[in-house]
Symmetry: C2
Subunit: 335 residues, 2 copies
DNA sequence: TGGGCCTTGACAAACGTTTGTATTGGCGTC
DNA sequence: GACGCCAATACAAACGTTTGTCAAGGCCCA
């Protein structure tokens, strides 16, 4: 159906290798012939077949991205950055989502490998490097916020512990002492680290860690709602809550509002991620920002370096940064 | 690097066509040999090359998806549905974003076509079918909420006019008479239609259409902020606003809060899309839901039908549905 | 006038599959 | 015992490129 290089060769009366060279602007074909062929190709609506090309060049110019879900704004923003950066280097990103299930994640990776992607970026994935070995071609793999942390020189992470500390420190500095924490999915390492930061900072301030103030959450708003409802039954009530991420914080705020509380007068809320919508929430959400765009861009560059044969494997821990907005204030609002 | 079918053939002492057939469970190879070969393949970590296979089968089992940006939750949710549905049929989706720029959109399509995707789904894309013709293979194309509407039997749309009418009717029924409207990007057809629905419903109720109440917005929260700030300068102030989408509504609410208004007491707000976060906003957002999942799934099935040779091209207009939540109430809150 | 070099293009192999056709050997049938 | 048939496998072409090598012709210089 689509014209091939051979069709053009036949039309132009040259061999098809000449057409190939003409189209790739090789100096080995006379300028005049080159132009003639290029014009002919355009007229015939020729579009080279990346699949045929990949077969011989053994490059697909494609990067696989594995993520649990793209409907989480944090992931969506990271992926967007990955895609844009890849595009700059003429690479295309192909993203597969795993729904957070390990099995689907492995299947997704398998599918990407079958498609012979040149590299794979794991975003908050749960599988480890060893899970990938021994199946098909071994391509460079870089992970972002990998949930099963392993530091082999190919990971990019945000400083979750410090993020947790910053969030907690801010609340402590405001005067809060009953500070609750809603965790993420229990098996996720970033959740563990944020909680660790929370605990460390409390201890640094000499505030006892009250385990009833730490409740299991998740990564979506309904998880935040449930967790907050639990916290609201506590007496005395916590005056502040540090949430695993912004989505959970949103749910927590919903539950607080539903209970008739006002934010931040009755309850201060801190999130994590700084999704694009955070500044527009009511009240604008105080949150710990991750350098999403940088993380995506860095991942792509690491893959590309690896592809170029650079051996400089180096783990990167990027700083997180607290953004203070309207959802936090000193304690003391009346009931 | 990775083992190929020939490597297996050599090891197994059979021809490579036999290996190919064994791996695809062809009955033409004896069960015993088949098992032996399959086991050998597994041991050698063999993963078939989709690129080689695609070259001969002329199928990539890949669907291209073009979208302006995946960080818009509405799009993200539609894409997720596309991806999941595609997966059910063993297809993989590869999404390319255009940033809403026509040029990048055409480039993205070109890249997808070079990769020989089996079909293309355009999500709120601005280019038309004719833009795709004559370049490379012509594959089935289905569009969702295409911004340049053309009804050639391959489009899926939500009933935007009716959605606009439902939103406006709800506000009118609550007693509002000064109802503002924040539009989307001016060139987008869905924005035009939602506005049309707004106008129609006002006229049906005999309420004069006041053009100063219709302000140009966009599709992101900051657009909503700007538009709302303009609306808040009006005297008398509008008591309700119908926004192009949920993101804009979020911005509008932010501006209203910043001006000291309360929602819905002083201002009722209606959005469009029903993003997953809508029920968790403060107040929970009344909005017009689009059947996102259905739209994505339908698009995939239409492509697959087309690939299967079905000629039953048929445009689909899906119903929109108003979801009443907390951001709307009768007018009459005091200043 | 002939040898060598440079430019231009042709030839052909290779990438890793799928798949139609040919081949081989064994068996049953008459 | 010859024939045909079936099962099992081998052979080879094809998919659409890239790229290394080879050939032809023109030119320069001796």
């Amino acid at each position: 159906m689509a014209a091939s290089i051979k069709d053009i060769a036949r039309q132009a009366g040259v061999s098809y290798s000449t057409v190939s060279r003409a189209l790739s602007n090789s100096p080995r074909v006379k300028a005049e012939t080159r132009h003639r062929i290029q014009q002919l190709a355009a007229e015939m609506g020729y579009l080279p077949s990346a699949v045929a090309r990949s077969l011989v060049t053994r490059r697909t110019m494609t990067l696989g991205v594995v993520v649990s879900t793209i409907t989480d704004l944090f992931f969506a923003e990271v992926i967007q950055s990955i895609e844009e950066t890849a595009l700059q280097y003429k690479y295309q990103a192909i993203v597969a989502s795993s729904n957070g299930e390990r099995l689907r994640e492995l299947e997704a990776i398998r599918a990407l490998l079958e498609r012979r992607v040149d590299g794979i970026i794991l975003v908050s994935a749960c599988c480890r490097r060893e899970d990938l070995a021994g199946n098909g071609p071994d391509v460079p793999v870089v992970s972002i916020n990998n949930l099963g942390r392993e530091h082999l020189g190919y990971s990019i992470e945000v400083d979750d512990v410090d993020g947790g500390r910053q969030a907690t420190r801010h609340l402590l500095a405001l005067g809060h002492r009953r500070i609750a924490h809603i965790t993420g999915p229990s098996e996720d390492w970033d959740s563990v680290e944020r909680r660790e930061g929370y605990t460390q900072e409390l201890q640094a301030w000499g505030v006892p860690v009250d385990s009833s103030l730490i409740v299991h959450g998740g990564n979506r708003p309904p998880d935040g709602v449930r967790a907050m409802e639990r916290l609201l039954t506590l007496r005395p009530r916590p005056t502040a809550v540090f949430c695993y991420n912004d989505a959970v914080a949103l749910g927590a705020m919903r539950a607080a509002y539903a209970a008739g509380l006002r934010i931040p007068q009755h309850l201060s809320v801190v999130g994590f991620d700084d999704i694009d919508l955070a500044p527009f929430l009511e009240p604008p959400l105080t949150t710990v920002a991750q350098p999403k765009r940088e993380m995506g861009a860095l991942a792509v560059r690491m893959i590309l370096d690896l592809l170029a044969g650079e051996q400089s494997a180096q783990d990167r821990v990027l700083p997180s940064r607290l953004l203070i907005r309207g959802s936090t204030a000193p304690p003391g609002g009346s009931e």
